[in-house]
């Protein structure tokens, strides 16, 4: 049976991809951010997961506003990155695991989640930046197969935080019922507090982010008391992306250990966070 061995929460803004492209990891601006990933790199190197389920949102590469699925899952053998218009160089394609994708889709739909199934799916920076952060070397990215799980956090109404947590729980059940000898990790990406639009652009909220990180392991339901609108007020309209971390958290169950964490302001216009959980149950 497949085993969910751990999960990571991580930011995914394009500026990070740009810094990686230009090798700025030890630049004074970037160093406090990238050093937070060292424990993740070591853990990935030690555990060598076979498959990564990557929870993210598309920002206008694969999905336009003509048709916005609330939850979409990739079921392709390969996922291409492409030009998003403002200059980030596309990365090499990522290898999928269509059979596992279909199992996941099948299991989630039986669990009453209405999933959009995608046999072709371009992946944008929301996907590629976390991949480069988890596996800085091409060789590492080539070794892990991916399943993109795309969430609408662009056009209201977004799914509720509660729905995201429950979807995560269902993803956990789906992985546990997959009859293949695979080690799986789940990545919840986006956030943390940031605001890109309006006069309040540049808004961050350290206090809220810190409480979110503090409670994520033992009390993820804490976030559920805020509607997405209330969250937008606290952490900025784009900070609401943090609800995608709840999908990761929900999938892991309650027998987990926090192995590392980092939080840093600013990365571009955002507060950036990373957290690594290991599943003790497997």
């Amino acid at each position: 049976m497949a085993r969910l061995i751990g999960g990571v929460g991580s930011s995914h803004v394009p500026a990070i991809g740009n810094a990686i492209e230009r090798n700025l990891q030890s630049d004074p601006y970037w160093q406090p951010f990238f050093k937070g990933y060292e424990p993740v790199w070591n853990w990935m190197e030690e555990k060598k997961p076979d498959v990564a389920i990557l929870v993210y949102n598309d920002h206008g590469l694969n999905f336009f506003l003509d048709a916005m699925p609330t939850f979409a899952i990739g079921a392709a053998a390969e996922y291409q990155n492409a030009d998003e218009g403002w200059g980030l160089k596309p990365l090499d394609p990522f290898q999928g695991d269509p059979e596992f994708s279909w199992h996941l889709i099948d299991s989630l739909v039986h669990d009453e989640f209405d999933i959009t199934m995608c046999q072709e799916m371009k992946v944008d920076h929301g996907f590629t930046v976390p991949m480069s952060l988890m596996w800085p070397r091409q060789q590492g990215r080539d070794r892990v197969k991916v399943i993109p799980l795309c969430v609408n956090v662009v056009q209201y109404p977004f799914p509720t935080a509660r729905r995201c947590l429950k979807l995560g729980e269902a993803v956990g059940r789906a992985v546990a019922s997959y009859e293949a000898d695979l080690d799986v990790v789940i990545l919840g990406t986006g956030g943390l507090s940031h605001q890109l639009d309006g006069q309040r652009a540049g808004h961050t909220n350290r206090e809220f982010d810190t409480e979110f990180l503090d409670r994520l392991k033992d009390d993820p339901e804490w976030l559920l008391k805020y509607s997405n609108y209330e969250l937008a007020e606290k952490v900025g309209p784009q900070g609401v992306e943090m609800i995608m971390w709840l999908i990761m958290r929900g999938a892991l169950g309650n027998d987990i250990r926090e192995l590392s964490r980092n939080y840093h302001i600013p990365i571009s216009n955002t507060a950036a966070g990373v957290i690594l959980f290991e599943n003790e149950a497997v």
Binding site: V13, P14, A15, H59, G60, L61, F64, L65, D66, A82, D83, E84, G85, W86, G87, V154, Q155, Y156, P157, Q195, L196, D197, G198, Q199, R200, A201, G202, H203, T204, R206, S227, N228, Y229, A232, E233, G236, P237, Q238, H264, I265, P266, S268, N269, A271
Partner: protein, 120 residues
């Protein structure tokens, strides 16, 4: 057209939520911006801005705001920030440039404010 989930909410200062009414208002504008994922479309826009805006059916207000590169105005006219970034990228403006523009401060002031938030 206020959505049920947003009805009666007090406005968030300096913030426009991209809901259904904004999505309707900005559909053509965002559709044009979506086309800028392709280099040949960015080139076509640069060669003939008016013709390109015509092709996507932008209204006069949107067209004027595109001319002024005024992100705040474009947001009010239904633009979504991720799509507007594809437009401003054509002029070499990144997220921090347009953040400063919207906040009404210089780029240096904008960056300083973010750095200050990191020190508290």
């Amino acid at each position: 057209m206020t959505m049920r989930s947003l009805k009666g909410k007090r406005p968030i200062p300096g913030t426009i939520i991209f809901d259904g009414s904004q999505a309707i208002r900005g559909y053509q504008l965002n559709k044009m911006c979506y086309s800028f994922n392709k280099a040949e479309n960015r080139d076509a826009f640069l060669k003939d801005e008016d013709g390109y805006c015509d092709k996507y059916g932008l209204n006069d207000d949107q067209r004027a705001a595109v001319k002024e590169r005024d992100v705040l105005k474009l947001l009010g006219l239904g633009g979504n920030i991720y799509y507007l970034a594809k437009l401003t990228g054509i002029f070499g403006l990144n997220m921090q440039d347009i953040g400063a523009q919207q906040a009404g401060v210089s780029l240096e002031e904008f960056k300083a404010k973010l750095l200050a938030a990191g020190e508290t």
